[in-house]
Symmetry: C2
Subunit: 418 residues, 2 copies
C-alpha cells in the first residue's frame, strides 16, 4: 500500500464509523469513556514502557528539557488523562438536542437538531495526553477522529490509541471511531489534508508554524488561531489597585499561553499614577517592560518598544506598554495590531465599558477581568478542543457544541407548496 492508499483507507474507515457514531446512544458513548479511563490506569505499565521508547529517542535527538517534560507519561499524568475522560463522560451530550423550534402559518413545525460534524482530523505536537483528550471530546460529540501526533510521541500515542480502540470493540462501537495515523512521514499529513470527501474539519493544535503549514496545505476547512496578542486597556476611570492586580495576573499567572497579556494600553489621564505602580508589581514578578515614548517619559529606565513589539506574542515575561489618549485610540490600536483573540478593559465608566464590549470584535472581550479567563473550562463550556480566531463556524474557545452543527427537521401533515 502506498502512503496515499493507507491514508485514504483510514479516512474512509473513519467516514463509515462516523455514520454509525452519529446515532450511537449517549449511554454507550459514556460507558466507553469510563471504561477507557479504567483501562488506561490498568495498563499504565504498558504506556510507561512505550513512552520510554519515545523518551530515549528524544534524548538522543537532544530535545529541550521542556519538550521532554511535556512528552513524559508517568502515574500522575496517566491518572490525570483518565480523570479527563471521566469528566468528558459526565458532560451533557449535545447530539440530538433541539436548539429551537417554531410553527409556520401552514402548520409545519420546524426545528434545528444538533448533529455531529462527521470526521475530524486533529494534528498536534508532542503532548501524548492530547490523544486521549481529543479522542474523548470527538467521541462524546459523535464524531469520528483521525489523530496525527508528532513523530517524537508516536509510540506513546499508538499505545494510548490501542487501549481506547480495544474498549470501543468491547462495547460495540466501530473501532475506526478513533484512529491514529501510524506513519510519521510528512507525506501522510499532506495526503490527509486533501481528503475533503471524507473529512469534515481539521483542527491543528501547536505552534504558529505547524498551524500555518496545515492551513497552506489543507483543502478541508481548518479551525485555528495563529497567536494571541492579548490587550488590557486601563481606562482613565479604572480602579488603580484592581488594574494592577488584573495586569499582574494576566501577564504572569502563566505567561506561555495564548490568553496571557502581551500589550498594555493605558489612558493618558491615569498614566502618571498607574504606570509606576504596575511597573513595580510586574518587575517584582520578573517581567521586562518595553514602552512607547510617553511611557518612557514616566518610566525612563525601560527599553523603547518598536513597531514589532506591538505585533509580538512574547509567550514570556515581557510586556509592551503604550499610553493612548482615549478609548478610540485604544480600540484603534487593537484593530491594527490585535489577533482577534482576547481583550479586556479596566474601567468604572459605564459608557466606555459598553462601547468596548460592542466595538472590539475579538473573540473574547472582557470588562474588569483577567484575559486568562478566555478558556473553555473557565467560561463554563465544560471542555475545550481549541480556540478559533476565524469567524466561520466558531469564534473563541470551542467546547463540545462547536464540534456539532444543526440540521433542520420538519414535521408536516401533508403540506404542499403553492
Amino acid at each position: 500500500m502506498t502512503i496515499r492508499e493507507h491514508i485514504v483507507d483510514i479516512a474512509s474507515r473513519g467516514k463509515r464509523a462516523a455514520q454509525k457514531l452519529a446515532n450511537t446512544p449517549t449511554q454507550l458513548k459514556d460507558k466507553a469513556l469510563i471504561e477507557m479511563a479504567d483501562e488506561l490506569i490498568r495498563n499504565s505499565h504498558v504506556l510507561i514502557a512505550e513512552n520510554a521508547r519515545d523518551l530515549a529517542y528524544a534524548e538522543k535527538k537532544g530535545l529541550s528539557a521542556a519538550m521532554i517534560d511535556r512528552l513524559t507519561l508517568d502515574e500522575a499524568t496517566i491518572t490525570a488523562m483518565a480523570e479527563g475522560l471521566r469528566e468528558v463522560a459526565a458532560l451533557p451530550d449535545p447530539v440530538g438536542n433541539i436548539t429551537s423550534m417554531w410553527r409556520r402559518p401552514n402548520g409545519l413545525l420546524i426545528g434545528r437538531m444538533r448533529i455531529p460534524l462527521g470526521v475530524i482530523g486533529i494534528i498536534y505536537e508532542s503532548r501524548p495526553n492530547v490523544t486521549a483528550d481529543a479522542a474523548a471530546l470527538c467521541l462524546k460529540s459523535g464524531n469520528a477522529v483521525i489523530l496525527r501526533g508528532g513523530s517524537e510521541a508516536i509510540h506513546s500515542n499508538l499505545a494510548i490509541a490501542n487501549i481506547l480502540q480495544e474498549v470501543l470493540r468491547n462495547v460495540g462501537i466501530p473501532e475506526a471511531a478513533i484512529q491514529i495515523i501510524p506513519i510519521t512521514d510528512r507525506e501522510a499529513v499532506n495526503e490527509l489534508l486533501t481528503l475533503e470527501e471524507y473529512i469534515d474539519l481539521i483542527i491543528p493544535r501547536g505552534g504558529e508554524d505547524l498551524i500555518r503549514a496545515v492551513v497552506a496545505q489543507s483543502k478541508i476547512p481548518v479551525i485555528k488561531h495563529y497567536k494571541g496578542v492579548c490587550h488590557i486597556f486601563v481606562d482613565a476611570a479604572a480602579d488603580c489597585d484592581m488594574a494592577v492586580t488584573l495586569c499582574l495576573n494576566a501577564k504572569t499567572q502563566r505567561p506561555g499561553v495564548c490568553n496571557a497579556l502581551e500589550t498594555l494600553l493605558v489612558h493618558t489621564n491615569i498614566a502618571e499614577t498607574f504606570l509606576p505602580e504596575v511597573a513595580q508589581a510586574l518587575r517584582n514578578a520578573g517581567v521586562t517592560l518595553r514602552g512607547c515614548k510617553k511611557t518612557r517619559s514616566i518610566l525612563p529606565d525601560i527599553a523603547e518598544a518598536t513597531e514589532d513589539d506591538w505585533h509580538e506574542e512574547y509567550l514570556d515575561l515581557i510586556l509592551a506598554i503604550r499610553v493612548v489618549s482615549d478609548l478610540d485610540e485604544a480600540i484603534g490600536h487593537i484593530e491594527t495590531y490585535g489577533s482577534l483573540h482576547t481583550e479586556s478593559i479596566i474601567t468604572n465608566d459605564y459608557n466606555n465599558s459598553q462601547r468596548f464590549l460592542n466595538e472590539v470584535n475579538s473573540s473574547t472581550v472582557l470588562v474588569n477581568a483577567s484575559t486568562r479567563f478566555s478558556d473553555g473550562f473557565q467560561m463554563g463550556l465544560g471542555a475545550e478542543i481549541g480556540i478559533s480566531t476565524t469567524k466561520l463556524h466558531a469564534f473563541g474557545p470551542m467546547g463540545l457544541e462547536e464540534l456539532t452543527t444543526t440540521k433542520f427537521i420538519i414535521y408536516g401533515d401533508g403540506q404542499i407548496r403553492t
Copy 2:
C-alpha cells in the same frame, strides 16, 4: 493599476467599511435600505437603459431565451427588487443580540453576542436582481459585500450598485460597504479568492460548474451546495393519496430548482398499489419516469434507471423510482446517493418517522411534507442568502443569522485566575 492591485484596493476598502458597519445602528441601515428601494424605482429608466446594453450583447452572443429572460430588467422586475429591499429592512437585525448568557461560580457573567462576519464576497451568474438582494442581506447583517456578477450583466449590475452606493453616501454609511467588481476578466475572481486577510466568506450562487471552480481556487472559506438530489421515501404505512399529492408537488411545482424531488423511494409493501397511482398523476403532469427492475415489474412501460440516474439532479420533468425492502434500505440509498440537501418520508408510522428524522443527516429532513419547503422564506428565516450542504458554520438554508458569528462578552468585577 494591475488587476491584482485593483482587487486588493476593493478588498481593503471593503474591510475598512466593515469595521464601521459592524457598529452602524439598525435604524440607519434600515433607512438606507428603504431609500435604496425608492431610488431604484425613481431611476428605473436608467436601469432599463443600462440593461438594454447587456441585452443587446446577449442577443449578439446568441444566449438562450431562458437566459435572456433572467437577464431582463423591466418595471415589474425593478418593482420586485425594490420590494425585496423593503422586506429586508423590515426583518429583525441579528447584530448585537445576546444569544445566551450565564453566571460562573466566581461571579463572571458570560454571554455570546452576535456580530457580523466582516467582508463577504458573492460570485453569481446572470440575474441582476441578485445584486440588490445580496447587497441588502449583507448590509442588514452588518457585513460589507463585494459582488462579482457575470460579464453578461455588467452594465445592469454597475447601474444598480451606483444607485445603492449613492444612498450609502447620503445616509453616511461608507460606500465601500457595497462594491461591485467592474472587471469582467476571469483573473479578477482568481485574485479575489486569494485575499483571505480581507475577506471572511465567499458565497457562490449559480450552477455546479461555477461553484466547483470557485471552491478549487479559493483560499477563503466557501459556503456552497453543489446540487440537490432530493428524495421522498413512501413508507409502507403512508397515506397513499397524501403521498401522491406530495410527490407531484415536490417534482412538478418548480422542477428546475435544487429542492425539487429527483428520486422516489417506495416501500415494497405499498409499491403495487401506490406506483400505478403516482405514475398516472406524474405522467399527467408531463413527467418521464425511470425505474429499478422491481418498479418496472409494476410499471412495465417505463425506461430502466441506471446507476447514473441515482446520482442525477435532473432539474427537469424526469423522476427516478426505486422500490426498497424497508426503511434501512431507504436510508442506505440516501446515504450512498444523496447530496445532504433535503429528504422527506411519507408515513403514518411513528417509529419510522422518528428514525428517519434522527438518522438521515441531510440539511433538511421532513415528515409528510413536500421537499419544496426546504427554503429560507418557507421555513420562516425571513430571507435566504443561499443553501449550504457542508456542515461547517451553516447547514441548510441560510438567513440573516447565518451571516453573523458570535463573540464572547464577559462582565467582571476584578476576577483573577488562580
